[in-house]
């Protein structure tokens, strides 16, 4: 065999580990759809919140079906559960009122959901890129009522900023409309410094400092981080998200908060759900429409500066302060612990998660 051929072969084989790792991760992620822990979050977290939200909308006189954006994974189990529970409906044109974004699976899931009428649109890009693309498929469907961001990586990471950028873009594209954000992420253990800096920033705010000291005594943020970076993350992440909400004139409510061990791996995933309510919309039905109708993502900063009244700004600030205090006081649900003590529920959720694998095959 010629040397040139050998060289080519060696070069090609050098790339093998990357591809195998990539594919293994893909396989693991698909398997994780079967987890009863994750199903607990889907059922007692996300679904419950969505149902409550529908009820609140109804009380406000809004009966319109919800529009969803989700990162569905290989089996789109979240979409399956919503569809089966009746919270996800079809539009007049027969399409499911959901858009999907998933680098690996968006198009695959689209195929399977086609028989149910198909999806609003999909993107095979990572979320931050999909939201960035000027003429991207997803952007034209904004705003959404429910956004489910289930990311395997970290929202706040030492190196990467893309996930946080994606969340910021979501706010921009929502144009001041009320919405639910369901967030699942993995804390980045290397991002300690960044997280501590963020938390320390809040110590300048009296009510937060007070609540923090009351809850954690005089403990310094570093010490809390050392003791439990999960607790720490579950303080910081909602704060960061709510801070963004404040900028866009929202009052943030936190609903279901949880964490769970992910399989055999020694790390926890954390789950947060937020409801962002635009401040200053007197007619409750207006909350569910975009505050800014004809603006683009790129000129929203200008609009926010010019058009959000001082009253809205000051209400947003005080709502944010209240929120940061409430975050310190609440306790996230430890899903792993709950299911460990309740094998019956574990089995039930396991079966339910299993029933959502290829759920589209059993839908008329």
């Amino acid at each position: 065999m010629s040397t040139r051929r050998e060289q080519r072969k060696r070069k090609a084989q050098a790339e093998v580990p990357d591809i195998i790792e990539q594919k293994q991760r893909k396989y693991d992620e698909a398997q994780w759809d079967r987890s009863p822990l994750k199903q607990y979050v889907r059922r007692y977290g996300w679904l419950q919140i969505i149902e409550d939200y529908i009820e609140r909308r109804r009380n406000d006189g809004v009966e319109l079906p919800l529009k969803f954006l989700t990162l569905p994974g290989a089996n789109a189990s979240d979409i399956g559960l919503w569809w089966k529970a009746g919270v996800l409906k079809k539009r007049e044109d027969g399409t499911l009122n959901v858009a999907i974004c998933d680098k690996e699976y968006a198009d695959v899931v689209t195929i399977y959901l086609r028989d149910l009428g198909g999806v609003l649109d999909y993107s095979n890009k990572p979320l931050h890129e999909a939201l960035k693309a000027q003429q991207g498929a997803l952007r034209k469907h904004f705003p959404f009522d429910v956004i489910n961001v289930d990311i395997c990586g970290s929202l706040i990471s030492r190196r990467r900023k893309s996930e946080m950028e994606a969340v910021e873009r979501l706010f921009r594209l929502q144009r001041g409309q009320c919405f639910l954000l369901l967030l699942t992420t993995r804390p980045d253990v290397t991002a300690m410094d960044r997280l501590i800096t963020i938390l320390q920033g809040n110590f300048t705010e009296g009510p937060f400092r007070e609540a923090y000291h009351m809850r954690y005594d005089d403990m310094k943020p570093e010490e809390l981080y050392e003791r439990s970076h999960i607790v720490f993350n579950q303080l910081v992440i909602p704060k960061v998200v709510a801070r963004l909400g404040r900028e866009f004139g929202y009052k943030t409510y936190e609903h279901f908060v949880a964490n769970y061990f992910r399989g055999e791996h020694d790390y926890r995933m954390i789950c947060h759900s937020f409801e962002f309510e635009p401040i200053g919309r007197r007619n409750p039905t207006n909350k569910y429409r975009p505050r800014f109708k004809h603006i683009t993502e790129d000129n929203i900063d200008h609009i926010l500066n010019d058009e959000l009244s001082n009253t809205v700004r000051s209400s947003a600030l005080s709502a944010y302060t209240d929120f940061t205090v409430s975050v310190v006081k609440r306790d996230p649900v430890d899903v792993s612990a709950i299911l460990k003590d309740d094998p019956e529920l574990y089995a039930e959720l396991e079966a339910e998660a299993e029933s959502l694998i290829q759920w589209w095959e059993n839908v008329n």
Binding site: S2, I19, I20, D28, K125
Partner: protein, 604 residues
């Protein structure tokens, strides 16, 4: 949790192709992006997929993915395709002629189809999982080495190896000649012999290496990971094209495209191609096709963004279904069997969340706006079918040729589209199988037809699978048949002959209408002269008197030789003489007659 076996097998296959094929690949097997992508769609179709989703990463086009829900592909089949690519283009992979579940005629061009991707991208990742299987294979086709040195590769491919050897080692022959000369001493001879031996060895080695190079690896390599664990529910095949060629991306983005190509109203708005593309992208597929059919706001195929042209081509070439009522919306019974078959095959192609249907909607252009179109007058349809042995092999096809009295729109569906196993071969042949080149006719642009070859004709395909070898017996038979159906204006037969007849039929009808109006007008004029109760009659019999005026009736002998020969002049003469005569009979004064004449001559 299950883990993937870390000692996974990995196989390396150089993509070996014969230099002959390499030349074609280098020169471009496919003359469009859609041509290359269509082969992937064909693979999915062969795998009994009911849905193929293509994601182009619009509007960036950094990556193209083709995903299907078919039966998947075994690693053995894939490897065979990789190994046999160079030796056969006729699908030695396939032992069956129809797919298992939907009995679709197998297209079977897996290997060459995958190789064609080298014209679109540098890397293609193929993942496939057999239905119900517990493993999945992942393969990476990498063409980047080929692309890095295109000139070198093309040169090597086109080079005659032996010729090069002669050029490189011509000195050996010279030395051998000198060796035979008597003037050399023995030392010198020994030295020469050693040199010749050394050079001959080098020559042999170089020749082996060159041949080896020519036989393989020019196109790149393929790495296969055959034993990845299956992902439940993810049966089928995913092909991801990465590192899309810059040229392809720029094409799809309309980079450097002149705004002169835009429809006038868009150009007037001074929009960029990107903005126009966004506008076009708002239309659903049916709307886009209808707009092209009607040429709404001057929209032509050529003025479409390249991305939408790509969609159009794909829809034409792949075995997707027709829109309801299409292709000829005023004759829904056309191609009934084929439409039923395509429906039974249950194959749909979705590109960027848009389901494609065949974009053929006839009649088109101005005619599409007209109601009450009539066969023989406005359009004609000639179905055609054939089944029989030609050159000792079966040829079977059916289809139609449609003629409409105005140019077919958009221009891309003028001519004839031939399908083999339901796959469109190239674009519409607007020469009508060379008919228009040999029999120039302005009516060629008024004809649109489709022919489905169910058996045969495949051997007439050129390597590009986009055109035919015109000397092939099957092709010649089809050509002869099509030409006979097209007929001739001079002979007055066939579709062309009928189109001439249609002209005259329309003319006759037009004249009848004019005549009817003339009679009505004349009746009204006579009435206006005050000659009440007079009956006006038109007779076609020959009579020397052009008209006869009686008490109660006026008879006009329209065929009288005394009327001017020209119809126009005749009607004009009647229009003047008959009312004037009627007025005189009614006792009109000269002044009244003059007034009548002024009315007739100056105002009418």
């Amino acid at each position: 949790m299950d883990q993937i076996n870390n000692e996974i097998q990995v196989e390396y296959i150089p993509l070996e192709v014969t230099s002959n094929i390499l030349i074609h690949i280098g020169a471009g097997i496919y003359n469009s992006v859609a041509g290359a992508i269509k082969e992937l769609v064909s693979n999915s179709y062969d795998a009994d997929a009911t849905k193929v989703v293509i994601s182009t990463d619009y509007p960036d086009f950094e990556q193209i993915r083709v995903v299907d829900n078919g039966t998947g592909m075994s690693v053995a089949r894939f490897k065979k395709a990789m190994y046999t690519i160079g030796s056969s283009l006729k699908g030695t992979l396939e032992t069956r002629t129809n797919t298992e579940k939907y009995a679709r005629p197998i297209i079977g061009q897996l290997g060459i189809g995958l190789m064609g991707l080298s014209q679109v991208c540098s890397v293609a990742i193929i993942e496939s999982q057999l239905r119900g299987g517990d493993t999945r294979f992942v393969a990476e086709l990498n063409f980047s080495q080929f692309k890095e040195h295109p000139e070198e590769q093309a040169r090597a491919a086109k080079l005659n190896v032996l010729q090069e050897m002669v050029e490189r080692f011509g000195a050996v022959a010279e030395m051998k000649e000198r060796l035979e000369s008597n003037s050399l001493d023995e030392d010198h001879r020994a030295e020469l012999r050693a040199k010749i031996e050394m050079m001959e060895e080098a020559q042999e080695r170089a020749q082996e290496e060159q041949i080896e190079d020519l036989e393989g690896e020019h196109l790149g390599y393929c790495m296969i990971y055959p034993n990845m664990r299956a992902i439940p529910g993810q049966d089928g095949t995913i092909v991801t094209l990465r590192a899309i060629d810059r040229g392809v991306r720029e094409l799809l983005k309309d980079t450097n495209r002149s705004i002169d190509g835009m429809p006038r109203h868009v150009k007037a708005r001074e929009e960029s191609w990107g903005e126009f593309r966004e506008e076009v992208d708002e239309w659903d597929w049916h709307e886009l096709c209808e707009r092209l059919r009607h040429q709404t706001s001057g929209l032509t195929y050529q003025s479409l963004p390249q991305y939408h042209q790509f969609l159009w081509e794909l829809a034409l070439m792949t075995p997707v279904q027709y829109f309801p009522g299409a292709p000829v919306t005023i004759r829904e019974d056309l191609l009934t069997r084929k439409k039923k078959q395509l429906k039974r095959f249950d194959f749909s192609l979705i590109v960027d969340n848009r389901e494609l249907f065949k974009p053929i909607l006839l009649p088109s252009g101005d005619l599409a706006r007209e109601e009450d179109l009539e066969e023989k007058y406005d359009y004609n349809i000639e179905p055609l079918s054939f089944e029989g042995e030609v050159d000792n092999s079966l040829l079977k096809y059916h289809g139609y040729l449609f003629w409409q009295r105005k140019q077919v729109k958009p221009s891309t569906i003028r001519g004839i589209q031939i399908y083999i196993r339901n796959v469109g071969i190239g674009p519409y042949d607007n020469t009508l199988l060379n008919f228009a080149n040999v029999n120039p006719t302005s009516r060629a642009g008024q004809i649109s037809g489709e022919i489905y070859a169910e058996e045969g004709l495949e051997r007439a395909l050129n390597i590009d699978r986009n055109s035919f070898r015109e000397t092939d017996a099957h092709y010649l038979k089809l050509k002869e048949h099509v030409w006979s159906i097209l007929g001739s204006a001079a002979r007055g037969d066939g579709l062309i002959g009928k189109s001439v007849d249609a002209y005259w039929l329309r003319q006759e009808r037009k004249e009848d209408t004019i005549y009817e109006k003339h009679v009505d007008d004349l009746q009204e004029l006579v009435r206006s002269t005050g000659k009440e109760g007079v009956q006006l009659r038109f007779l076609q019999e020959e009579h020397m008197e052009p008209y006869v005026v009686g008490e109660k009736r006026i008879v006009v002998y329209d065929n009288s030789p005394n009327w001017p020969t020209s119809r126009k002049e005749r009607l004009y003469a009647q229009r003047i003489l008959v009312p004037v005569r009627a007025a005189i009979d009614a006792g009109a004064s000269p002044h009244q007659i003059l007034e009548l004449l002024e009315n007739l001559l100056l105002k009418s």
